[in-house]
């Protein structure tokens, strides 16, 4: 009997969520659009995403990455919407927020009656069922119920943690509560049943920031540059002012946890009984990167420390291993010839303020489209021991010269011997 009651309860909960989903679908489907980027030469779509209307003036919210091709190449593409009923029309790009992956587009031809999604005033309680709407795989509009799990902890870029499956193509679709009020925008999936949404506050920021006048096409790139610049200043100053928690690694003390938003992992080769040396690794990175276009991402940070101990190898053999451990470092983000220049490097023997001497190299490459933004890569290897060494390494993507150099200095001076 008790089992039956539980089953009945489960079924009714399921039926209820089913009903809300159906209601939502019928109520708001006319305010939900497929956003298509049309390639002008072929006249066919080159990418699709979702978007939703938020006011009777025809303003719609979608993801920046959905319209990124148009932002990068306004002469090659145009933006179009497609309704559930199959009607289509042109869209105008009003503004975007590249850091939070949001874009505001506007319908230029309005009907007499426009359906809109109202925007919620606050976020719901953790555990509440919320609904993600969108258009995955070009199959038509769907509703995915899931659970609101609060703002993702320890992240620099605020995201809602959503348990439910967001599929490709649902990007830019709204996430609504039971009343159909928008609380977030679909953005990314982290694998099975875990999705991330852009929270309400970022949508509000974009809406208050945007002027009624659309951003001129000539200012697209400079706007991206300004937003990236502002973001990196904030990110790096937060990182530098955070407490750098020092922990022992081999004979050194290194910062193993910097601030709250870098996630850190450790590893070692102690389980490999044949290895004649000990390698202990400690790496931290920023989980999110900013999507710019195509394969280009920016804003990533990686820090890495590796302690090598080769007392069984002897001096010369250890240094040969040490040498091969510092070659072949690469960028943390994929970029092509059109995005960035080649790296230029400077190397030197440096003794830091804690009397740790290292051979160090700093490499820099510039973004071709965005003035004063660089990718920076650093490697240092200590020279104070005959059979042990500490390799320190970091990469910063999309940073300005001053913040990069002041971070480098702080990083280099943080290392000390026990």
């Amino acid at each position: 009997m008790r089992h039956f009651l539980i089953l009945l309860f489960l079924f009714s909960a399921y039926a209820q969520s089913q009903q809300t989903a159906q209601n939502l679908f019928s109520q708001y489907q006319s305010a939900l659009y497929q956003i298509r980027i049309i390639e002008l030469e072929s006249g066919n779509k080159s990418s699709i995403g979702s978007g939703f209307q938020i006011d009777p003036q025809g303003n719609m919210i979608t993801n920046y990455h959905v319209v990124s091709e148009y932002v990068y190449d306004p002469d090659k593409y145009r933006i179009e919407y497609l309704t559930i009923d199959g009607e289509s029309g042109p869209l105008q790009l009003i503004n975007f927020d590249v850091v939070n992956d949001l874009a505001l587009v506007r319908k230029t031809e309005l009907n007499a009656l426009e359906d809109i999604f109202p925007i919620a005033t606050s976020l719901p309680n953790q555990g509440t069922t919320i609904y993600s709407l969108g258009n995955p795989h070009d199959l038509g509009m769907i509703v995915v119920p899931g659970t609101f799990n609060g703002i993702k902890k320890n992240s620099f870029y605020q995201r809602i943690h959503f348990t439910g499956s967001i599929n490709p193509g649902m990007s830019g679709g709204p996430v609504v509560n039971e009343n159909g009020h928008v609380m977030g925008v679909n953005v990314a999936t982290a694998g099975n049943q875990i999705g991330f949404l852009i929270p309400l506050s970022k949508i509000e920021q974009l809406l208050t920031k945007h002027a009624d006048e659309p951003l001129p096409i000539s200012e697209f790139k400079s706007t991206i540059q300004q937003q990236l610049m502002q973001n990196q200043t904030e990110l790096l100053s937060k990182l530098q002012n955070a407490t750098w928690q020092m922990a022992p690694l081999g004979q050194a003390n290194v910062p193993t946890k910097i601030g709250e938003f870098l996630s850190c992992w450790g590893d070692s080769n102690t389980n490999n009984e044949e290895a004649l040396f000990l390698s202990v690794e400690n790496r931290c990175r920023l989980d999110e990167q900013i999507f710019l276009h195509g394969g280009l991402r920016s804003g990533g940070i990686e820090l890495e420390f590796e302690w090598l101990n080769g007392q069984k190898l002897g001096e010369n053999r250890f240094y040969s291993l040490y040498n091969s451990s510092v070659i072949g470092a690469g960028a943390g983000n994929a970029a092509t010839k059109t995005d960035v220049t080649n790296y230029q490097c400077e190397n030197s023997k440096v003794t830091n303020k804690n009397n740790v001497s290292s051979k160090t190299v700093l490499c820099v490459r510039a973004y071709k489209e965005f003035a004063e933004l660089y990718d920076v890569l650093f490697i240092g290897a200590t020279l104070d021991h005959k059979e042990q060494g500490l390799i320190s390494h970091f990469t910063l993507a999309g940073v300005a010269k001053d913040s990069a150099l002041s971070f480098t200095k702080q990083f280099m001076d943080a290392i000390e011997w026990q």
């Binding site: 044949e274 290895a275 004649l276 040396f277 080769g310 190898l313 001096e315 010369n316 053999r317 250890f318 240094y319 040969s320 291993l321 040490y322 040498n323 510092v326 072949g328 470092a329 690469g330 960028a331 994929a334 970029a335 092509t336 010839k337 220049t341 080649n342 790296y343 230029q344 490097c345 400077e346 190397n347 030197s348 023997k349 440096v350 003794t351 830091n352 303020k353 051979k359 160090t360 190299v361 700093l362 490499c363 820099v364 490459r365 510039a366 071709k368 660089y374 890569l377 490697i379 290897a381 020279l383 104070d384 021991h385 005959k386 060494g389 010269k401 150099l405 480098t408 200095k409 280099m412």
Partner: protein, 318 residues
């Protein structure tokens, strides 16, 4: 008075010579001739070579032959010969030599050849092979981070040594082909010495890279040094293998070095403008015992890196 007739190959290389102590020589297919040629295109009595009694010069006369006489590729019935004229009758090539004409002086014997005699010692070859093999094994040992077994490493290092020995071997074979002494031991010793020189230079390069962080000029310096060694090596290999006039030897040595060095220069230096998503840096690390140069403070290093940003900004406009 003597007349010398020299039979030539198609490339005008001397095959055989005949000396006649008389003032005239009859040439033809007939057995009555002074010089009998077994060539079906030559008439039984084809040509008469004589010394003009008045001027003392050599002359040829066509004896009404079917195919005539070609002197330097021109048909002649009758001609006075100049030194080095090539005479063609039928399919046979001849040179007629005036024994009164003086010969060029002898080539001076090279001091170098005497000075290089120490290379021709088998014992030295054994010692050098041992030194090379030891270096190869030692660098293999230093390069492995797992357990090292000399028996397992030996075959591949011996193989490397064998590959290195192919070079002197090929020179020895070439020398044999042109019917000179092979000088195999000399060639092997020379090659092994050069190999050792490269090993030492390699170590020196690591030491300099570690302590000095030299700029791009260092790569050019390395290239020049490697170039000079290769030119010298090729020149000596040629010197030992063949008897050539110096100009020819210099030219061949330079040409071969260019062929060897050109790919190095093209791929190593002129491709650096191509886009690469990885930085190219040299972070040579050596044990503290080799660390002889001082280091700078963090702030000095940071100041030095300021220029990097300018450099990549300039690249952007390209």
């Amino acid at each position: 008075m003597a007349i010398v007739l020299e039979l030539l190959s198609r490339k005008n290389m001397p095959l055989k010579h005949y000396k006649f102590d008389q003032d005239y020589v009859c040439v033809g297919r007939d057995f009555n001739n002074d010089l009998r040629l077994d060539d079906p295109y030559v008439c039984p009595s084809h040509m008469l070579v004589a010394i003009d009694p008045e001027s003392g010069l050599l002359m040829v006369n066509d004896c009404q032959s079917t195919n005539g006489i070609k002197i330097n590729n021109k048909f002649m019935k009758h001609a006075t010969l100049q030194p080095n004229d090539i005479i063609k009758i039928g399919r046979t090539r001849l040179r007629i030599i005036d024994t009164k004409a003086p010969l060029p002086k002898a080539m001076p014997l090279s001091e170098l050849e005497e000075n290089l005699s120490w290379l021709n010692k088998a014992f030295l070859a054994v010692c050098l092979s041992f030194a090379c093999l030891s270096y190869l094994l030692l660098s293999k040992y230093i390069g492995t981070v797992s357990e090292f077994k000399i028996i397992a490493a030996l075959p591949s290092e011996l193989g490397q040594l064998a590959v290195i020995s192919l070079w002197p071997l090929s020179f020895a074979v070439l020398a044999k082909v042109v019917k000179k002494e092979s000088h195999l031991i000399n060639q092997i010793n020379l090659t092994l010495i050069i190999t050792l020189v490269f090993f030492v230079l390699n170590l020196l390069q690591s030491f300099i890279m570690f302590n000095m962080n030299p700029g791009s000029w260092f790569m050019w310096l390395e290239l020049v040094i490697v170039g000079l060694i290769i030119v010298g090596f090729l020149w000596l290999s040629l010197f030992i293998a063949f008897h050539q006039p110096p100009i020819r030897r210099n030219a061949i040595a330079l040409l071969m070095s260019t062929l060897i060095l050109a790919p190095l220069v093209i791929f190593g230096f002129f491709n650096s403008d191509d886009f690469s998503s990885r930085p190219s840096y040299n972070l040579t690390l050596l044990p503290p015992a080799y660390n002889i140069s001082g280091s700078v403070e963090t702030t000095v290093f940071i100041d030095k890196t300021q220029a990097l940003f300018k450099r990549v900004d300039q690249q952007k406009s390209k």
